[in-house]
Each structure stands twice: as structure tokens, then as C-alpha cells.
């Protein structure tokens, strides 16, 4: 049953609030495992297909769900050992909210009804808010307030967009259920003016959540102030969910014959995000904020890739997978750095390789991965996007694209090299390194490497099915 995917985490999440800490931890990891199991059942279509008005099993949804479920398992293991070090008093609330957050995100991945998708995306905002202000410091409260208010207002605008899309159907005297699957069937008859207006509002609304510039202002604050396991989940899973909302509407636009229009909108927002993050990453003093800006950049890359279409759409989907793996790994490493040095300032975290060799290596490898260096998957995906753009004749777009990539690499590498290779100021270690916290980021990085060497056939097929609805192909 498809709905189990969100029902289980929600029920478990509520239970964890009330369970004693130790049993709660076990339940937390057990739920993560079971979620991965249910996702695998759905991925291979083991259970019988579901006939629901509100939910359906789509290739793009499955892709997002599978990434999320895989990440969550390793993040949950990391969380348990991380929380043991920080001695948080509110651990059941944190773990419970993580599970509720997973439930809301899973609901996004399988939602088919337009408004249900909206409800699920709004729910992700609300369920993740407690994760950010769990420390109750001034900065984290400010970050939470910005996050909840900016995202709620943005998502409210997306609801307006949903109404416009429903209206585009009603003005044409069509009466089909308002789910994406049935609307895609009658897309050609929808009223174009209202559909365009709806798409703009939805891109602004869900784009706020996805971190597209200029609506990204909440993202660096929320991602840097949240505890590191929550940041990893926000960056690796939540942004993909918001992207899924935009992607579903892009599919609808493509089917309605307005693909060029929606592509150009996506490319414009994508390039703006890349340029904005390139500018702000240059003078960062906080390594978690640096990673957050890098997430904005990568969401921009995905938007550009989907906008260009063809081969680039395949690249964008690959990029989504690898970005999630590498970026979560980086945020988990950042959590280890924060534990070891007790500060988020780049200037005060020198000499990582000598003081914390495991973390230093994973952080540097993750940085190489996120910058698009060869053994990692982001190299392949960025190359495919660039090739796709050249095939499509989008030379101006690709010039700006490559320019921003170089700028971001130049800005971030200066900071990261200083953190990893310089001489430490002193040999103080607040919390020593442990394998239990070093392994999850390493495994995530190795998964990204493994997927470059061997892309399983069913994954390849799912990506192809997901992009075929916007005219994307590998051979195009």
C-alpha cells in the first residue's frame, strides 16, 4: 500500500515524542529501515497498483522518495550518535519531528492531486520548523521565524497558482479530477493564459521552498542554524521535494504545448540562483552557510538542466541524485567539525587534516565532489547538462552557467583548502573523532562514487521514464 510510506513515519513520529529516550532511538532507526523497505517494495512495484484520487506512483516521485529514504537511514544512525555527544534534553522531540518531517516529505513524493501536493509541501515546512529552533538560541529563533514566515507566504502564493490551474480547466468546460495524471490527459484543452499565470505563481511559491533566487533568503539561515543532521535532511531531501512540485507543473505545461514558456522561466530562475550563490559564497565566514549557498547553486543547476531539456534533463536528474548524496555527506561532516572545534567560523577551523583526519578527508572529498571533480557523479551530470545545452543551441545560457561554476569553485576552494590543509592554531579538540559519526558521510560519498561506476538498470530506466514526459532522452 503506497500510503504506508507516509503513514508509518507519522505514526512512529508521534510515538517517539512519548517514548523514553533509549527506546525512542531504537524506534527511530527501525522506522528508517522500515521506510526504506516499503520504498523498495514500491520502487519494484511489488505491491499491486493503487487506485486513489490523491496519490500515485510516478517515476519522478519514486526517484525523490528513494533518495530521501536512503539518506534518512544514514542520517538517522548519525543523529543518534551525534545527539549522544551534544547531550540534548529535547532529543525525543527532535527525533519525533525528524520522523514527522520524513512523513510529510514522503507524502509530497507520492501526491498526485494538485491541492494534496500543496498540503504536503506546506506540511514539510511546519514539520521541519521545530528541527531548526531546537537549540533556542537567538540566531536559531530568527532563522526559524524567517523560514516559517517566508516559506508559508511563498507556498500560499503557490496555492493561488493551483487555483489558477483549476480555473484554466473550468473555463474550458472540462470536468476531470484535479490530479496531475488526469490533467495531463486533457492538457491540450486547458486555457493557456490561466495556465501560464498559474505556473508563474507555482514557480514562485515552490521555488521559495526550493531555494531559487531571489526567494532564497531563508535558506542560508535555516540550513546553517539547524543542527547538522537536520541540515543534511533539509538540503538533501526537502529541496528535491520542492523541486518535484515545480517539475510536476512543468510536465503539465509541456503537455499543454507551453513547454518553451515554462523552460525559459526555469532557466531564468536557475541562472539567477547560480549567480546569486556565486556572489555570496566568495566572502563567507561560516562553513555551514557556504554549504547552504552551494545548495542554492545546485538547485539552480537542476532548474537550468530541466529547462534546457533533452540530454540536459537526464543530467539534471542525475545531478539531483548525486547532489543529495554528496551534500548530505558534507553537512554530516560539518556536524563533526562543529563538534570538534565548537565553532562555525571558517577562520577558527584550521588544520583539519592534522586534528581530525577522517573528517578532513570526507569534507575535502565531499567538496571535490560538489565542485564537479571527475570521480564523483556531479562531474558527469554537469557535463551532460553542458552537452545538452550545446546540442540545443543555448550558448548564452551555457556561458553564464560555466562562468558561475568557475566563480563558485574559485570562491569555495579558497575557504575549504584553508580549513583542511593549513596549520592548526592549537591542538585543542572539544570532542574526539569517532568512527560511528565518520562512517555515515563516508558511505554516502561512496554511494555517489558507486553510482558513477555502475548505474543500476532499474534506476536508469526510472530516470528515463521520469524525463520522457518533458521530452528528455539520453540519445536526444
Amino acid at each position: 500500500m503506497l500510503q504506508l510510506v507516509f503513514l508509518i513515519p507519522i505514526i512512529a513520529g508521534i510515538a517517539v515524542f512519548f517514548l523514553p529516550v533509549k527506546i525512542g532511538r531504537l524506534a527511530f532507526i527501525a522506522t528508517a529501515l522500515f521506510h526504506l523497505f516499503v520504498t523498495a517494495l514500491e520502487w519494484f512495484h511489488v505491491t499491486e497498483p493503487l487506485h486513489s484520487k490523491y496519490f500515485s506512483n510516478t517515476p519522478e516521485g519514486m526517484l525523490v522518495l528513494a533518495i530521501m529514504s536512503f539518506l534518512f537511514l544514514f542520517i538517522s544512525i548519525y543523529t543518534v550518535f551525534y545527539m549522544a555527544e551534544v547531550e540534548m534534553t529535547k532529543e525525543p522531540i527532535f527525533n519525533g519531528s525528524m520522523l514527522l518531517f520524513l512523513g510529510a516529505m514522503s507524502m509530497v513524493a507520492i501526491a498526485d492531486h494538485i491541492i494534496m501536493l500543496w498540503v504536503a509541501i506546506e506540511a514539510t515546512t511546519l514539520m521541519s520548523a521545530p528541527l531548526i529552533f531546537v537549540h533556542r538560541s537567538k540566531a536559531s529563533l530568527e532563522a526559524t521565524w524567517k523560514y516559517v514566515l517566508i516559506c508559508s507566504v511563498g507556498i500560499a502564493l503557490a496555492l493561488l497558482g493551483c487555483f489558477f490551474i483549476i480555473f484554466s480547466m473550468e473555463t474550458s468546460d472540462l470536468h476531470v479530477p484535479i490530479s496531475f495524471s488526469s490533467l495531463n490527459g486533457v492538457a491540450a484543452q486547458l486555457n493557456h493564459v490561466w495556465l501560464k499565470a498559474g505556473f508563474i505563481f507555482i514557480v514562485i511559491g515552490y521555488g521559495t521552498k526550493m531555494g531559487l533566487a531571489p526567494m532564497h533568503t531563508w535558506l542560508p539561515d535555516a540550513h546553517s542554524e539547524a543542527p547538522s543532521p537536520a541540515s543534511a535532511l533539509l538540503s538533501g531531501a526537502l529541496l528535491n521535494c520542492a523541486f518535484l512540485g515545480v517539475y510536476r507543473c512543468h510536465q503539465l505545461m509541456f503537455n499543454a504545448g507551453l513547454g518553451d514558456y515554462s523552460s525559459n522561466v526555469l532557466i531564468a530562475f536557475g541562472l539567477a540562483s547560480m549567480l546569486v550563490s556565486a556572489v555570496f559564497i566568495l566572502n563567507q565566514t561560516d562553513y555551514k552557510r557556504m554549504l547552504a549557498y552551494s545548495s542554492i547553486e545546485n538547485m539552480g543547476i537542476i532548474a537550468v538542466g530541466i529547462g534546457i531539456g533533452g540530454l540536459a534533463a537526464f543530467g539534471a536528474m542525475l545531478h539531483m541524485i548525486h547532489h543529495s548524496l554528496v551534500k548530505s555527506s558534507l553537512f554530516l561532516s560539518a556536524g563533526n567539525i562543529l563538534l570538534g572545534y565548537g565553532t562555525k567560523s571558517i577562520d577558527k577551523t584550521r588544520g583539519m587534516l592534522r586534528l581530525f583526519p577522517k573528517t578532513g578527508i570526507t569534507f575535502f572529498a565531499g567538496f571535490a565532489g560538489i565542485s564537479g571533480f571527475p570521480p564523483f557523479g556531479l562531474f558527469v551530470s554537469e557535463l551532460l547538462i553542458i552537452l545538452g545545452a550545446i546540442k540545443a543551441g543555448r550558448y548564452v545560457v551555457i556561458t553564464i552557467f560555466i562562468f558561475s561554476l568557475i566563480l563558485i569553485f574559485a570562491g569555495a576552494s579558497r575557504l575549504v583548502l584553508q580549513m583542511v590543509f593549513s596549520e592548526p592554531e592549537n591542538d585543542d579538540k572539544l570532542v574526539p573523532e569517532r568512527w560511528t559519526r565518520a562512517l555515515p558521510p563516508i558511505i554516502l560519498l561512496l554511494t555517489s562514487l558507486a553510482l558513477v561506476i555502475w548505474l543500476p538498470d532499474s534506476l536508469y530506466q526510472t530516470i528515463q521514464n521520469a524525463i520522457s514526459s518533458i521530452g528528455g532522452t539520453v540519445n536526444g
Binding site: 491541492i115 506540511a123 511546519l126 540566531a139 516559517v148 489558477f164 483549476i166 473550468e170
Partner: protein
């Protein structure tokens, strides 16, 4: 003949203008409760042409419970907790906000006339005018006030406006109670979460003034 729906729309506009003028947080909360009840009644009145059925009435009661009682109740408690009860030094003054609200009405009439909505009945067009004004005024409140509570009220007003736009445009929305209920639940949880954060902000900063928060920037 004055249709009853027109009276409701006039009441909504009145509550919008009053809330732009008001500087007392408690008065704002009461206005929100009033507006919530009126907004909930709009679908009931509009649909009378097709006959009122049991589901519609039940849903009306649910809407009143959430928008008229629960949400204002939560806001009421939040205001009680907070020491200050006035909005001091708004970013945009009260007279200017009120004037902006009036301009908003003119603008909504213009927009509604520009959209070629020949197929909509006449009272739906008036509804659209009220709806766009409410949404715009909510945005004004969000941006022009510094107290976090007023910002939440601005968000609620914007949500009311969007709900009314949905009522005017998307007929199918009102036949799917599961979905509408889910949207309502989201709104309620949103206010609950905002209330919890508000409470913590008040504890930590001794105020709910968002101008005090400015640590995070680039």
C-alpha cells in the same frame, strides 16, 4: 436588490480597512475572528442557488470553528503572553497603510475588469474584488509591521484572500471536502507552530519585535 453575499463582501472589506488602521494587537485578533466567520459564510451564501445541502452546512461549521474560534483563540493567548499590546513605530504608518488599502480596492476592481471573466456570474466578480483586496492588504500588513504577531495576522489575512479567490474561481474545490479539510488543517498547524515560535521569541528577546532580530545576514 441587495444580495446577501454583497453584505458579506462589504463586511470583509470593512474588516480589512479596520485592520490596516488598528494599532492594538487585541483589536486585530478580534477583527481576524470576525473576518474568519464572514469568510467562512461566503461559500454558503454563494451556493444557495444550487440549494444548501447537509455537507455544505457541516463544512461551514467546521470553517467557523477553525477560522473564527481556534485560530483567533491561539492568537489571543499569544497576545496575552506578550507584555506589549501595541504596535509601536510601524514601518509604514497607519494613515499610509489605510490609503494603500483604498488603492488596493481600486486596483482589484481594475484587475477584475481586465480579466475577461464573462463566464463568471456577477456576484463572483465582486467576490474577486474583495478577495484580491484582502490578499493585498494581508501582504501590506506582513511587510509594514514589525511585531511578529501582526505579521502572523497579515499571513492569515492573505490566506483568507486566497481562499476567497479559490471560492470565486475553482468550483471543484468545494466539492472535495477531504482536500479542503487538509488545507484547513495545514493552516491550523501553521498558526500553532508560529505561536510556539512566537512564545520562544518572546522568552528569548523579551519582545516580539522583528527589528530586534538581525544577526543573520550576508
Amino acid at each position: 436588490m441587495i444580495h446577501i453575499s454583497n453584505i458579506l463582501l462589504a463586511l470583509i472589506l470593512l474588516s480589512v480597512l479596520l485592520s490596516l488602521r488598528s494599532n492594538r494587537l487585541m483589536a486585530l485578533v478580534k477583527l481576524m475572528a470576525f473576518q474568519g466567520v464572514v469568510v467562512s459564510a461566503v461559500p454558503l451564501v454563494l451556493e444557495t442557488a444550487h440549494g444548501v445541502n447537509f455537507n455544505l452546512v457541516m463544512f461551514f461549521l467546521l470553517l467557523v470553528l477553525v477560522k473564527g474560534i481556534l485560530i483567533p483563540g491561539l492568537m489571543y493567548r499569544a497576545v496575552k503572553w506578550v507584555v506589549v499590546d501595541r504596535e509601536v513605530e510601524p514601518i509604514i504608518g497607519y494613515h499610509a497603510s489605510l490609503f494603500a488599502g483604498l488603492i488596493m480596492i481600486v486596483f482589484s476592481v481594475y484587475v477584475t475588469n481586465q480579466l475577461q471573466l464573462a463566464m463568471l456570474p456577477e456576484n463572483h466578480k465582486l467576490l474577486l474584488v474583495a478577495a484580491i483586496t484582502t490578499m493585498g492588504a494581508g501582504l501590506i500588513l506582513l511587510m509594514a509591521r514589525r511585531k511578529a504577531i501582526t505579521q502572523v495576522i497579515g499571513y492569515l489575512m492573505m490566506e483568507n484572500g486566497i481562499y476567497l479567490i479559490g471560492t470565486a474561481l475553482a468550483k471543484q474545490m468545494h466539492t472535495q471536502y477531504v482536500v479542503e479539510f487538509a488545507v484547513l488543517l495545514d493552516l491550523l498547524v501553521a498558526v500553532l507552530v508560529m505561536g510556539i515560535v512566537l512564545n520562544d521569541i518572546n522568552h528569548t528577546f523579551d519582545d516580539v519585535d522583528t527589528a530586534l532580530m538581525g544577526q543573520l545576514k550576508d
